[in-house]
């Protein structure tokens, strides 16, 4: 077990190194650096050039790229992502601010997805080919094909603008600070509704179909027949014997999708004016804010690798047959 964890950690570090090198070079090699963008407004050519050079020196852009990369890694090791080129604030502070809005929506939507799709998946599997199974799967399939930003636009248009039911800009209404605590919570909750829905509905079809499919495969196994044969109730057979055994692929699916959910969605966050990671990334790209872009790339990659790793480890917990020894 320990050797497996060590092996995984080493390969993970190698991959992480590769990712950081690639993104560093993609970002640096292409034209249009932040100093250029910030000086493009200065009319006087000589002044513009001087400020440009000073800015490049300040940001360390005048050094060769490998040196810049080494500096970046050196700071990273002590947990320092540097300061933003755009507003000079600490990158960690900027990300820290954007983390909660994205994370809260992601977790909320994730919980909703599991809570709704698990019973649907189990029930459809039990009544395979029945009316419920067919109508729900068709309905969810249609939903699955609705892109989340398309749904977002329609929801904003009808629920937000035409019928004026729910807010759709940002996390808080104007005058949030004057509200009572209860009022603030209610306001916050209202702002969460539309964006959380947009993150959730598409996954419903995917997850419920996935759960149904796995359960169907498990139900055919001999030990299920044994469980039935020894006279166990259908409830116990399905929930205890079948469902728990269909959890392994579900964990790997969660492992595969969670990091992408955590990354937020550029379009949705931009559309709902949501101050999350996706919007921060989009703005950083526009501003050529190298430290912020690098930090976000790095964190996303870390999340992907980390969560896949945790998912692989949990297999062992769910399924004792899996051994990590070679």
């Amino acid at each position: 077990m320990l050797s497996y964890i060590l092996r995984r950690l080493v390969t993970g570090l190698v991959t992480l190194f590769g990712i950081s090198v690639i993104s560093f070079f993609i970002i640096q090699l292409v034209p249009g650096d932040p100093a250029q963008i910030q000086t493009s407004q200065i009319a006087d050519a000589a002044v513009s050039e001087r400020v440009y050079q000073q800015l490049r020196e300040l940001y360390g852009l005048d050094k060769p790229i490998p040196v810049q990369y080494a500096n970046w890694v050196g700071k990273l090791v002590v947990g320092d992502f540097g300061s933003s080129f755009h507003d000079g604030r600490r990158v960690s502070a900027k990300i820290g601010e954007a983390l909660w809005p994205t994370l809260s929506v992601a977790l909320l939507s994730f919980m909703l997805t599991l809570i709704i799709s698990t019973p649907i998946g189990i029930y459809s599997a039990l009544r395979q080919g029945g009316g419920f199974d067919r109508s729900v799967s068709t309905g969810l399939y249609m939903l699955y094909s609705v892109p989340n930003y398309v749904a977002g636009m329609l929801l904003i248009l009808y629920l937000g603008v035409k019928w004026d039911l729910l807010p759709f800009r940002g996390m808080r209404s104007d005058g949030y600070d004057e509200m009572t605590t209860l009022g603030q919570m209610w306001d916050l909750a209202q702002h969460y509704v539309l964006i959380t829905f947009c993150f959730t509905f598409g996954n419903l079809a995917y997850y419920s179909r996935f759960i149904r499919q796995n359960l169907l495969e498990v139900v055919r196994q001999d030990y299920i027949r044994t469980a039935r044969a020894k006279g166990l109730g259908e409830r116990s057979v399905v929930l205890k014997h079948a469902f728990t055994n269909s959890l392994i692929p579900l964990i790997s699916l969660i492992g595969l999708t969670l990091p992408f959910v955590l990354g937020g969605s550029v379009i949705l966050e931009y559309m709902f004016n949501w101050p999350g990671l996706g919007r921060l990334y989009f703005e950083s790209v526009l501003q050529r804010d190298y430290p912020t872009i690098m930090a976000l790339n790095f964190i996303t990659a870390l999340l992907v690798l980390g969560i896949t790793f945790i998912a692989d480890l949990t297999y062992g917990l769910v399924d004792p047959r899996i051994s990590y020894e070679k």
Binding site: T15, G18, I19, I22, S23, I26, I27, V30, P31, G32, M142, Y144, S145, V146, P147, Y149, V150, M153, L154, I156, L157, G160, V161, K162, P259, F260, G263, S265, V266, I267, Y270, M271, Y281, F282, V285, L286, R288, I293, L296, N297, T300, A301, V304, L305
Partner: protein, 345 residues
């Protein structure tokens, strides 16, 4: 032999009603895209003007094929940017015209801005007074082009690298597989955005970038298939007959690996269409005077309170395109996978 395999696949495919519906919608979208110059154009299909016959919209149709502008050109007055046929049109002189179904070009400023749907403009007009229906029709071209061409790029790259990794193995496999893993660690949209930020936004760049990020999935599929097929008896037979590696891969392994790749390509087209519309919405794709479903959606978003009428048509179009490609892909998967077939029987 290969032909009969695809023949069987097609026969099975026809049995799936939803898949056929999806295929029909895809065909319609294709037709709309191809015929867009004679469906929505500010110049007529055929007209009599000042004693002569002209067919400007037909020339536009032909011009969709690259290179044809060297062979055929619009006749004199229609070629000029300043020539406005609608203003010069004079029935008294004996002028008549066979108009396209939508009489407005995608960039033509035809009416007052942000007008709601009316008899003249079925889907209303946008913030510059351009006909939304005409822009929707021409937006189809962008979506179809991006969908197919970007996946074309992805397929070529994916098959080449997938075959090399799967067949050669060893160092090549190790390097390519690692690289695929690294690329897959980035959410595709982030990667695309990061790359696109450096290039002037245009539909060509969008296509290339989508293609460059989508090939890894195909490469992984192809690699897996080649690995599997390489061990089959007929591959062994071919090898023992002395078939050279390149020929073995191209003639014997690849054709049998194509089916699962085709499935992932179909889904890939839906994703590409989605990404293109999203990028255009963000301002990184098709640029404003040109029409795309994404830019129309963006115009609607920017004028939410005054002109919501632009949003539903673009939403429906994107939804239909994605749904139909998904349906075709799903059906194809069911049809191709013999294991599923056995279960159903």
């Amino acid at each position: 032999m290969a032909r009969s395999y695809w023949h069987i696949t097609w026969r099975r495919f026809r049995g799936h009603r939803l898949g056929m519906v999806g295929l029909c919608v895809v065909a319609v979208l294709f037709l709309v895209a191809f015929l867009s110059p004679i469906l929505a154009n500010e110049q007529p299909i055929l007209c009599r003007f000042d004693g002569g016959f002209y067919y400007p919209a037909v020339v536009d149709l032909v011009h969709q094929v690259p290179g044809t502008s060297l062979i055929i050109q619009k006749q004199r007055p229609y070629r000029l940017a300043t020539f406005d046929f609608k203003r010069e049109f004079d029935p008294e002189r004996g002028d008549w015209a066979l108009w396209t179904p939508v009489r407005y070009g995608p960039r033509e400023i035809a009416a007052e801005p942000l007008a709601g749907p009316s008899g003249r403009h079925w889907l209303g007009t946008d913030q510059s007074g351009r006909d939304v229906l005409s822009r929707m029709v021409h937006g189809t071209v962008v979506s179809m082009k991006v969908g197919f061409l970007s996946m074309g790029i992805a397929v070529i790259l994916g098959l080449v690298f997938g075959c090399i990794a799967g067949y050669a193995g060893g160092i090549a496999d190790l390097v390519i597989s690692r690289f695929i893993e690294v690329v897959q660690c980035f959410p595709a949209f982030f990667l695309i955005l990061a790359v696109l930020a450096w290039f002037p936004p245009s539909i060509e760049n969008v296509m290339i970038v989508i293609g460059l990020t989508r090939w890894v999935g195909i490469a992984r599929f192809a690699r897996g298939e080649i690995l599997r097929i390489r061990e089959t008896d007929y591959a062994l037979a071919a090898r023992s007959l002395g078939v050279r590696p390149a020929q073995l891969v191209l003639r014997h392994l690849l054709p049998n690996a194509l089916a699962p790749v085709l499935v992932s390509v179909t889904f890939g087209i839906a994703v590409s269409i989605l990404i293109e519309a999203g990028l255009s919405w963000l301002g990184f794709g098709v640029q404003p005077p040109d029409a795309s479903w994404g830019t129309i959606l963006r115009s609607g978003y920017e004028n939410l309170f005054t002109a919501g009428h632009m949003i539903p048509p673009a939403c429906v179009a994107i939804f239909l395109a994605v749904l139909s490609f998904n349906l075709v892909g799903d059906t194809l998967r069911d049809v191709i996978d013999p294991r599923l077939q056995a279960e159903r029987a």
